[in-house]
């Protein structure tokens, strides 16, 4: 009962089970964030005056520490997974909206004029021209959102053991087994790197039209995440 992969029974999961839980808690919010960000970004791209206030609100939301978020939410959603996932979804939204808007806006005036001149209406133009061309920027945003989400899930350990792999940190202290802490940190980092590499792969598959070597511009909108940097290095 002291091996690297032996997980204390109070967590009610095997090591692999914790990984599954961790991924679910980290990725579902990103997905929710993406679904919400797409229409918001479309409105921002179409009505330019909307973007500055939206950006302001999202920046303020991003500045709220995750712990403060959890504390507020506990009153409403209790010590549940949802309490962890809602802030993560908001963070993802905050990263993705500017990424999509910038990507959509990076489509050249000529391409837009050509689409309009060929008889594309605004919605068709957004879906068939602007959004596909924004895919590299959107995926760059998704990478930042996903990696920070994976690392932030661990904070959930503080609210009723909802931190998946993060719960190992608490157990490491409780059972005096530092190896559990190492397990938690290493597994989370490897997970982040793998998911990030997967997203790079998705980008390559989705954008055969990009010149090799051209990299999407990555806005410095998000806090730099060591795991994100590591993931990017690994992907090269």
């Amino acid at each position: 009962m002291t091996g690297f992969f032996d997980i204390p029974s109070d967590l009610q999961h095997s090591w692999l089970g914790l990984i599954g839980l961790h991924l679910r808690e980290a990725l579902l919010p990103v997905l929710a964030g993406l679904v919400a960000a797409l229409p918001i970004a479309q409105l921002c791209a179409r009505f330019r005056w909307l973007y500055p206030p939206v950006l302001g609100v999202t920046t303020v939301l991003y500045a709220v520490p995750s712990l403060a978020f959890f504390v507020v939410l506990i009153d409403y959603t209790g010590q549940t997974e949802l309490t962890v996932m809602i802030p993560l979804a908001v963070y993802s939204l905050v990263v993705l909206v500017p990424a999509i808007v910038d990507g959509v806006r990076s489509v050249s005036q000529e391409t837009l004029a050509a689409a309009t001149a060929m008889g594309f209406g605004p919605l068709r133009r957004y879906l068939q021209v602007q959004l596909p061309i924004a895919v590299p920027a959107i995926l760059a945003g998704l990478r930042v959102a996903t990696v920070s989400s994976i690392s932030l899930v661990s904070v959930g350990a503080l609210i009723g053991n909802q931190g998946a792999l993060g719960n190992l940190l608490a157990d490491a202290m409780f059972y005096h087994r530092p190896v559990l802490a190492v397990n938690s940190v290493v597994t989370t980092a490897v997970l982040a790197i793998l998911v990030d590499a997967l997203l790079v792969l998705v980008r390559l598959v989705l954008t055969p039209w990009m010149p090799p070597g051209a990299r999407p511009k990555r806005k410095a909108a998000a806090r730099p995440e060591p795991a994100a940097v590591a993931g990017e290095e690994a992907a090269r």
């Binding site: 000529e110 050509a114 309009t116 594309f120 061309i133 954008t207 010149p211």
Partner: protein, 376 residues
């Protein structure tokens, strides 16, 4: 016929981009809008497909007011080509070209078959079909732009400086290709450029616009060159409009001299018989009838003509096909001052002196002036 009737465009910021412009754009020909940057060419073009709505005036096509037509179907009936092509970078070449047919509801297969047909028409190799725009040169992208505009076989083609961003040699090729396609398809083309040479080369009719969006002159290119309406048009045509105008006169009327021509295998008597005080040089031709070079008669020794010691002959002109401009150019480039005339196969049929070309130019200009008087 596209009829632009006293159209004015005032942008919300107060800029008057087009000022009471009236133009009748004839069917099945190329009408060029030319003028300095900012004179309202793009605005005018975009009013024809309603990407810009006029502030005043009307535009009709075959009598029907375009402001009453559904905007997207109006646009799909007009091909649109722009500078840098504006291709969809995320779609393959064949799918780029198939865009409008797909919008019109054609099946994917039919649209792609049509796209491949057009690639051939604009001179694109079929192997490029599955490539993406970034894999093509600027000139190839522009061809894709033209093919895409033609895909649904629209009667009207709007072209906004389509060839401005490619280098001069590629541009010349694209212009020739456009004229060839136009010969085959007979579209109503409205072509915008700031390059007066391009306007004169391509236009059946040329509308010169001045800054502020007013029409300075609307005339066929030859008339523009012979009788510019005012000093603005004259300045815009540039200092060599006299020379450029020669492009519109045929070299057919030039009287060729056949005496100063000797074949490389001529005998001494033949060489002697060619000597003529009027022609200080003799042109030596090869056994295939093509020019080899000029020489003074006394340097030619029968049976021992050293072709590498001959004077260069410059660039010959094709008699009857090339213009007086090409003939004059050939004479100016020739070190002897004589232009070499060849037939369609490149065989020498005569030579002509700068003096003779000068006389032909004078008489052509005289006729040209008469034509201009008759016309207006």
């Amino acid at each position: 016929m596209i009829r632009i009737d006293s159209v004015t465009k005032r942008y919300p910021d107060g800029t008057v981009a087009v000022d009471r412009l009236s133009l009748e754009i004839p069917d099945r020909s190329i009408t060029v809008l030319v003028g300095p940057s900012g004179c309202g060419k793009t605005t005018t073009l975009r009013m024809i497909n309603r990407m810009v709505e006029p502030s005043e005036g009307t535009i009709t096509i075959d009598g029907a007011d375009i402001s009453r037509q559904p905007v997207n179907s109006l646009r799909r009936s007009m091909g649109y080509v722009i500078q840098n092509a504006g291709l969809f970078q995320h779609r393959t070449i064949v799918d780029n070209i198939a865009t409008v047919p797909r919008l019109l509801g054609w099946s994917k297969d039919r649209a792609r078959a049509r796209a491949r047909e057009l690639m051939e028409r604009v001179g694109l190799d079929a192997s490029l079909a599955k490539r993406y725009p970034y894999q093509l040169s600027g000139g190839q992208q522009q061809r894709v732009g033209v093919a895409r505009a033609l895909a649904a076989d629209p009667p009207v083609l709007l072209m906004d400086e389509p060839f401005s961003a490619v280098d001069p040699i590629v541009r010349k090729g694209l212009q020739e290709e456009l004229l060839r396609i136009q010969d085959e398809l007979g579209k109503t083309i409205v072509f915008v450029t700031h390059d007066i040479d391009e306007a004169i080369r391509l236009g059946t009719m040329v509308a010169v616009l001045r800054t502020g969006g007013r029409l300075a002159q609307y005339a066929p290119p030859a008339e523009l060159l012979s009788s510019p309406a005012d000093s603005f048009v004259e300045d815009f045509l540039g200092t060599d409009r006299g020379i450029r105008r020669l492009s519109f006169f045929t070299s057919e009327t030039l009287e060729l001299k056949k005496t100063p021509i000797v074949a490389v295998d001529s005998t001494a008597e033949q060489i002697a018989s060619r000597t003529d005080p009027d022609t200080p040089y003799l042109l030596v031709t090869g056994l295939d009838g093509r020019p080899l070079g000029w020489s003074e008669p006394e340097d030619l020794v029968a049976g021992e003509i050293e072709t590498e010691r001959l004077l260069p002959y410059g660039r010959p002109f094709v008699h009857g096909k090339d213009s007086l401009r090409a003939a004059l150019d050939a004479a100016v480039l020739s070190p002897t001052g004589w232009a070499v005339a060849v037939d369609g196969d490149g065989q020498v049929i005569g030579a002509v002196s700068q003096q003779t070309i000068g006389e032909a130019i004078r008489s052509a200009h005289a006729e040209g002036r008469d034509d201009a008087k008759v016309a207006g």
